[in-house]
């Protein structure tokens, strides 16, 4: 334990400071202001900071002088059901947010991989959307504004609480998927949706080629879906691939779309899942990636998915894989070596497909970086933007690989 740091933190944050299991001083501020106070001290003394939510996604293993956890910043600060807007602290869990919104018949269409206890701040920082991105878009589309504490302890607000807003530069965008390199997300204004009257979920199982063909036909028919996700056998603990489709809306509309799915899919048989079974299936898909130490996402268009799945198979194995066959995007979980991931990145870069490390042990993240090698011109720009939000580089976030991989 670093006693001087522990004692110094005690002096400024008192009961919010404890000693973590790893021997590091651990601070749990309850507000943006308290967080800013700690960050200012860390910046002035050049302490290296590891930011954690509930440690339910990223392994809490980055080397640091102290840990800041948002676990006490866990409140849903406001809900405006009529405006379909809510404000939550960064440490609020998706489970708690869902429960709090249910009586208002509202929800946030975020279904990230991992545990339902993941914090909203973690979901933003890693930009981890789930199958619902098919209808509702990536994480950034659900965020109206953020309050961020910078690496030197400033409190910066961007965006607002209205659903349309172009006042000022959109600083929220670098926070989302920025892996905490651009500050600690203290508060988030999210856009809510009214809970749909009807929902129907279908699943088909079979061979990869047949399901890809069925998905292509469904997508070409422009069926109105909330998700259309392909899942590998390992992800659903099955011997076959699965294609899950879901539609939301009015009962008449949902029934009509189900009819269209089955027509477009031809010989592929889709079986309906009741509400609870659908929840279980999708939760298993989301939580399945936790079985593997490394999770990556590939920014592939749906039209490029078949070839990309093959490339994954050839390079690092099929692993626990899911792919959006309408909106695009592919997630893979497994245990690759850094060399294998580099090889995959090189092959996919030729096809304009970025590969982002969403979750991995520190040593792996540090070696290959969340984003791999930056394109020409992006590195200096990223470094300058990062310097605005973390001038002392006190936040541990390896965006680029250590060896430029």
């Amino acid at each position: 334990m670093n006693e001087p740091i522990f004692e110094a933190l005690k002096a400024i944050a008192r009961e919010a400071v404890s000693l973590g299991g790893d021997g590091l001083p651990r601070v749990a501020p309850a507000s943006a202001e308290a967080l800013a106070s700690v960050m200012r001290h860390a910046f002035e003394r050049r302490w290296r900071v590891r930011v954690e939510g509930r440690a339910s996604w990223m392994p809490p293993d980055a080397p640091a002088d102290l840990v800041i956890t948002t676990e006490r910043m866990n409140r849903l600060l406001s809900v405006a059901p009529a405006d379909l807007v809510a404000t939550a602290q960064g440490g609020a869990s998706m489970r708690a947010i869902r429960s709090a919104l249910a009586p208002h018949r509202a929800w946030v269409p975020l279904d990230p991989p991992g545990s339902p206890d993941r914090t909203l701040g973690s979901i933003l920082a890693t930009g981890t959307a789930g199958p619902l991105r098919h209808r509702f878009g990536p994480v950034r589309d659900q965020v109206l504004g953020t309050t961020v504490v910078t690496g030197d302890g400033r409190i910066v607000r961007a965006g607002g609480v209205v659903v349309k807003n172009v006042a000022g530069f959109d600083l929220t965008k670098v926070q989302i998927g920025g892996f905490a390199a651009f500050g600690v997300i203290a508060e988030i204004n999210v856009r809510l949706r009214a809970v749909p009257v009807a929902r129907q979920t279908l699943v088909a199982r079979g061979g990869l080629e047949a399901l890809l063909e069925a998905a292509r036909a469904i997508a070409e028919a422009n069926v109105d879906l909330s998700l259309l996700e392909l899942c590998s056998p390992a992800l659903t603990a099955s011997t076959e691939w699965a294609l899950v489709a879901q539609t939301l809306g009015t009962p008449e509309g949902v029934n009509a779309e189900i009819e269209r799915i089955t027509t477009a899919a031809g010989d592929i048989r889709f079986d309906p899942l009741d509400g609870a079974a659908a929840d279980r299936f999708l939760a298993a898909v989301g939580e399945g990636v936790l079985e593997s130490p490394v999770v990556v996402r590939a920014g592939v268009l749906a039209s490029g998915t078949p070839e990309t799945v093959d490339l994954f198979g050839e390079t690092i194995g099929l692993g626990r894989l899911s792919a959006g066959l309408g909106a695009g995007g592919l997630r893979w979980a497994g245990n690759p070596t850094p060399a294998h991931l580099r090889a995959l990145r090189i092959r996919l870069a030729e096809r304009e497909i970025p590969v982002t490390v969403e979750r991995a042990p520190w040593a792996f993240r540090r070696e290959v970086g969340h984003f791999g090698v930056f394109r020409e011109g992006v590195r200096p720009l990223t470094e300058r933007v990062r310097a605005v939000f973390d001038p002392g580089l006190v936040l541990a976030a390896p965006l680029e690989g250590q060896d430029g991989s």
Binding site: N165, G168, I176, G177, G249, T250, G299, F374, V385, R386
Partner: protein, 482 residues
């Protein structure tokens, strides 16, 4: 209007150097030529640039930017000049770079539902080009028949259909940009997944202060199989706004949900854009639903019932494409129709939470009476994006002063209701003084610093968006830190 101050003489050598890049005919240095660029769509601001230079290729744009970097000359990129915030005005020491000649659609890829275009492509032209493939480009600002996609990127433009489909930022997946120092960089990917932090998201809406988009990749959407457009009229504005809240709260997301108040309806109906709106209504709502046939039919039934329950006197459904087009013409040309009322028109832009619409509209009515102004409201009700239109004559200085004071009062009312000073027009020069209403000094200074990450010399579209003093304070703070 244009300031009557003596202008510095333009360096003839600079003009020759600019001419060597684009050809002398594309250098507009005569005052009469430059005055064509003194304003955008906002009549309250004007500024004549030092010179206007119109490049015809991206290579010429890059060469221009590099030349101006070498000489330390500020510049302003401009699209079609339809902006409504004075955002593309250049001062007399700055070079204006209109990008309207870069108007090529480079690629439409129907399989991947993507298009690559140059920044000077007109918004509506892209949808026309995508139409044979069964696709469209969703953001549809009212000026879409003239405004350019480069301008849309700079302003993060919206439009009626962004209620369901999102604004420009939700449709741009990749950009090739040139920074003010002449560096050319590619950001984003065809899917939209970034190769690093989301610099595309940061660039869109940066109002021309981060650089110039040389090439834009956008997402195209399938043309909906079914569209239903409803027109509902109400005898009270409050009932109309409450109907808006009821529709959204029911989980229905219309493609568009627009409102026009009586003053606006009457202006439209008295113009060549008459759409058949009832002129005795206090407000009309235009509700458009799109999707697949059965879904749209079911939602239309629900929406019609909600409209009637909330007090709609009548609900009419467009039966033909021509009728739908006519209903939309009235909405999209409403600003033009108001030209009949007075020679000048300020189209204001602010956003409030939907639940605040009734109270804020009441307040705007009071502000109109207080300042003795005619204010018409035509706006995107579904997302709370107000467009109070103030008709006036700019030659009347007293009147112009009252317009300015009323605009500020409207902004204050919207901010007090929890809203924002702009939903889609941008801050530009017009609203720069309002920025402290919604952002504290630290946040403004951070915006300045991010701008300097893209353009350390602050030569790209200077003196817009963030008040200068906020930038100075940032520089002082970082200087102390070092």
């Amino acid at each position: 209007m244009a300031p009557a101050i003596a202008e510095p003489a333009t360096d003839p050598e600079l003009l020759r150097a600019l001419g060597r890049i684009v050809g002398p005919r594309w250098v507009r240095a005569r005052r009469s030529e430059r005055r064509a660029y003194e304003a955008d769509g906002l009549p309250t601001h004007a500024s004549v640039p030092m010179v206007a230079v119109l490049p015809g290729t991206t290579r010429e744009v890059i060469a221009l930017v590099r030349l101006l970097a070498e000489r330390g000359v500020p510049w302003v990129a401009r699209g079609a000049g339809t902006g409504l915030s004075g955002g593309a005005l250049a001062a007399s020491d700055a070079v204006l770079i209109p990008l309207t000649r870069l108007n090529r659609i480079l690629e439409i890829d129907p399989r991947r539902r993507r298009a690559r275009i140059e920044p000077g492509v007109v918004n509506a032209r892209l949808s026309e080009a995508a139409l044979p493939h069964g696709l469209l480009y969703a953001p549809d600002p009212s000026s879409q028949s003239a405004c350019t996609l480069g301008g849309n990127v700079a302003e993060n433009a919206g439009g009626p259909h962004c209620l369901k489909y999102g604004t420009t930022t939700n449709h741009v997946t990749a950009l090739e940009i040139v920074l003010a120092d002449g560096t050319v960089t590619r950001l984003g990917s065809p899917l939209g997944e970034p190769w690093g932090p989301d610099l595309v998201g940061l660039f869109v809406g940066s109002e021309g202060m981060f650089g110039i988009a040389l090439e834009i990749t956008v997402r195209l959407e399938p043309i909906p199989a079914a569209i239903r457009t409803l027109l509902a009229d109400f005898t009270s504005v409050r009932e109309a706004t409450e109907a808006v809240g009821a529709i959204v709260a029911a989980g229905i997301v219309p493609a568009a949900l627009e409102m026009l108040d009586q003053a606006c309806v009457r202006a439209v109906e008295a113009s060549i854009y008459a759409a058949g709106y009832p002129t005795d209504a206090a407000a009309v709502l235009l509700v458009e639903l799109d999707g697949t046939g059965p879904s749209v039919a079911a939602e239309a039934t629900m929406v019609e019932a909600m409209l009637r329950k909330r007090g709609a006197r009548s609900v009419r459904s467009a039966e033909t494409a021509a009728e739908r087009a006519r209903l939309w013409q009235g909405r999209k040309k409403a600003f033009g129709a108001m030209g009949r009322i007075a020679p000048d028109l300020v189209v204001q832009d602010a956003v409030v939470p939907r639940s605040a619409l009734p109270a804020v509209l009441d307040t705007i009515g009071e502000i109109g009476r207080r300042y003795r102004l005619t204010i018409c409201n035509v706006f995107h009700a579904g997302d709370g994006n107000l467009h109070p239109n103030i008709c006036y004559d700019r030659r009347d200085q007293d009147l112009a002063g009252r317009v300015e004071e009323a605009s500020r009062a409207i902004m204050e009312a919207c901010v007090a209701a929890g809203g924002s000073i702009t939903g889609e027009h941008g801050v530009g020069a017009d609203k720069i003084d309002y920025m402290p209403m919604i952002f504290d000094e630290t946040s403004l200074a951070t915006m300045c610093a991010v701008r300097r990450a893209f353009d350390p010399s602050e030569r790209a579209n200077p003196n817009k968006v963030v008040p200068v003093h906020s930038c100075r304070e940032w520089r002082a703070a970082t200087g102390r830190r070092r």
